[in-house]
Subunit: 416 residues, 2 copies
């Protein structure tokens, strides 16, 4: 894409009411735009990265057998009354509205009730189980405070997966395979090293649930980590029994602030009991379906990557989720040799299937370099009179790389 | 995909309160699930087709220079008050909610206000124009009645594009290129022959807008069509002046019921004036940006295809938007030669990059054929003892094709 055709601009300052680092950087770099407190729109660069994060998650959910669906936002009170979660006294994040034709609807903040009803319409026999369904869907949560940029918003896309199993053992197998998929996801998006599967409170149907917590000073949670053992415990469940269960001592633990980037939860038969989701086993006997739920918020992941990997110059994207793979910076007026060469290189790389942003704007070199650092594409390639005299293009990784001359396109391809 | 692993089922009957043909068929075939009146969820098959319709639209929007964004659902009352569209007296489809932290928000039913504010944050000079931005985003409309299945719902994904031009001439060029893109879209999804660019009322800033209307008995609109001239006029604007403008006489027109599958609209400077979206031209003089908006609802397109192309046996999908390209129907018990051959063929076709559904369920042949017709994948390939004795696989197009023996995979590839 030509940067001159990107309608968004970088800006020197973020809105004065924006306290979080992730939102400041993402607004300044032109990834997102603030609509209200806790509400952001995604601009072209931001949507590209968000989509790539979703692609990573999708591929891992498909790999463990998940099937994608898309449930409605508008929620039928009927099914929520059956689980006791319609009442505002029990759930304090609802947005609700009157339907013009009569009755009420809620704006979904999660989808256990809806997917359980759908399952009950399709499952009758043990042959219909197990299965898992997931979606990328907008959740609405009427949060009292929204203060962590795109990490805690009143509206956000969530990947929520729900699993349906015949018994506890079958459920546990899927639960574990999903935990492994989550580890792969966080590794692929670039925060695997800082992210811990963390023991958290389990609710009525299991002793523990698991959160995936990324260590960051921007985190809202406190966790205790035994780094050598790769064990982490949420502060809310840290007690002698847990320490004994996990065979760690308090000395091994360090306290860390962390961002919850995902969670997995055993639901037992809470929802299948309430909504009548039952099946007949191979002996004709009825049983309740055992469920689990598995969430990741792609925008929160994006915000976390911005918090954890960015530096003083701007954003830093890992290859797999960068909006583009290569950022060509053309230094030279339109019509100059360098400008022509830059466009040629752009066409060649695009022709090879690469995603390339080319800065073809009429700006000073210094401004272009600063913008390139702010935007954070992994590989910068400068095409200038100087680079051409030096024998080619000047390539530099966004982080840690030295600037050096690359002779031809093959040299660039070897770096992406 | 193996049909035994598709957790949804076909069903004999649609819900008794479901009057529309499109929803009846889509529910029976397992494409959608009804949540409430006017609210549907998309199941795996339905989401596949919905995604394909969106891919067609996306490719055509990109081809005319559109850039994809994703705006928030939650809307800031501030900007809507400036255009006079916040008040329920002026707009009767709002869902609104109180924000827990104080203040109000609306659930977006369209996005002119939001995109105009974003544009005003990024546009200052004539060099920043023209551009166009589009999104696929969930709209909420509190409709009094919801009666046409997935064609008129209280919540629906819409592709809405907005264009920003320096003057009327530049705007008109883009408007025309978008009209052509829409024609290509409706052709690609299979309803080009029945769909007419239709003159409709223009509002304050232009004499006409244009709707894209698909002739169907399920339509809620009345249009007048001169088929030979490829001209159509919405009933609401049919008068002597329009007939004169378009050089058609009443004799040439036939009255038709039609479904509005898209619309394009010149907005003039209504929104840029209200929200201060101005630019400096090359002489340093200020002007207001000229806007247009361009909508298509992918689910409405899906419903329209179901209304227009389906037959007594079920759904009929054109190749480009079918959930799968090939439906293998395996007739024979697990472990039989035919079953093994069916799976081999499945693996081979998938290996070639084809999207294949294989009916590997333990059901009678008649039930499988009925399900295949109901689901409506363009090519059915039966693998049975009989077909193998006949020398291969029995291929049949969903519509109009004769069943015949195809010897090998190359024969199948030539049909998809």
């Amino acid at each position: 894409m030509r940067q001159s055709q990107l309608f968004t601009k970088t800006r020197k300052d973020a809105p004065s009411d924006e306290a979080s680092k992730n939102a400041q950087l993402l607004i300044r770099a032109g990834y997102i735009s603030k609509e209200m407190a806790g509400v952001y729109s995604f601009l072209p660069l931001g949507l590209r990265t968000l989509n790539k994060i979703m692609s990573v998650i999708r591929s891992e959910m498909n790999a463990i057998g998940g099937t994608e669906v898309l449930l409605s936002s508008l929620q039928d009170p009927e099914i929520w009354k059956k689980t006791g979660r319609w009442d505002d006294k029990n759930v304090d994040v609802w947005f609700k509205g009157e339907i013009a034709g009569g009755g009420e609807a809620g704006f979904g903040w999660t989808h256990e009730e809806a997917i359980t009803r759908i399952a009950s319409r399709n499952v009758s026999s043990y042959r219909d189980l197990p299965f898992s369904a997931y979606q990328f869907q907008n959740k609405f949560r009427n949060e009292l405070r929204a203060k962590s940029g795109i990490m805690r918003t009143r509206e956000f896309i969530m990947k929520d997966m729900y699993s349906f199993s015949r018994d506890e053992k079958e459920h546990q197998e899927f639960y574990n395979s999903c935990a492994e998929a989550y580890n792969r996801i966080f590794k692929r998006v670039g925060i695997g090293g800082e992210t811990y599967k963390t023991f958290a409170s389990g609710g009525a149907f299991s002793k523990y649930s698991h959160e995936f917590q990324t260590i960051s000073s921007a985190g809202e949670d406190i966790i205790y980590v035994a780094k050598d053992k790769k064990i982490a415990i949420n502060k809310e469940v840290l007690n002698e029994e847990v320490l004994k269960d996990l065979q760690v001592s308090r000395d091994e633990l360090t306290e860390e602030k962390a961002i919850e980037v995902g969670n997995i939860f055993s639901l037992g038969t809470r929802f299948s009991d309430a909504l009548g989701l039952r099946y007949k086993d191979d002996k004709g006997e009825e049983g309740a379906v055992v469920m689990g739920c598995y969430g990741i918020g792609p925008a929160r992941v994006m915000g976390t990557v911005a918090e954890v990997l960015s530096d003083d110059s701007g954003l830093v994207w890992p290859k797999e989720i960068a909006p583009f793979s290569v950022h060509i910076v053309s230094i030279g007026e339109e019509g100059s040799d360098a400008f022509k060469k830059a466009l040629e290189l752009y066409d060649e790389l695009v022709g090879r299937g690469l995603e390339v942003l080319i800065d073809d704007r009429e700006l000073r070199a210094g401004e272009k370099f600063a913008d390139a650092d702010l935007i954070g594409i992994p590989l910068r390639v400068v095409v200038s009179e100087k680079s051409l005299k030096g024998g080619g293009y000047e390539a530099k990784e966004r982080v840690g790389g030295e600037s050096r001359i690359i002779k031809d396109i093959h040299g660039i391809l070897s770096l992406v």
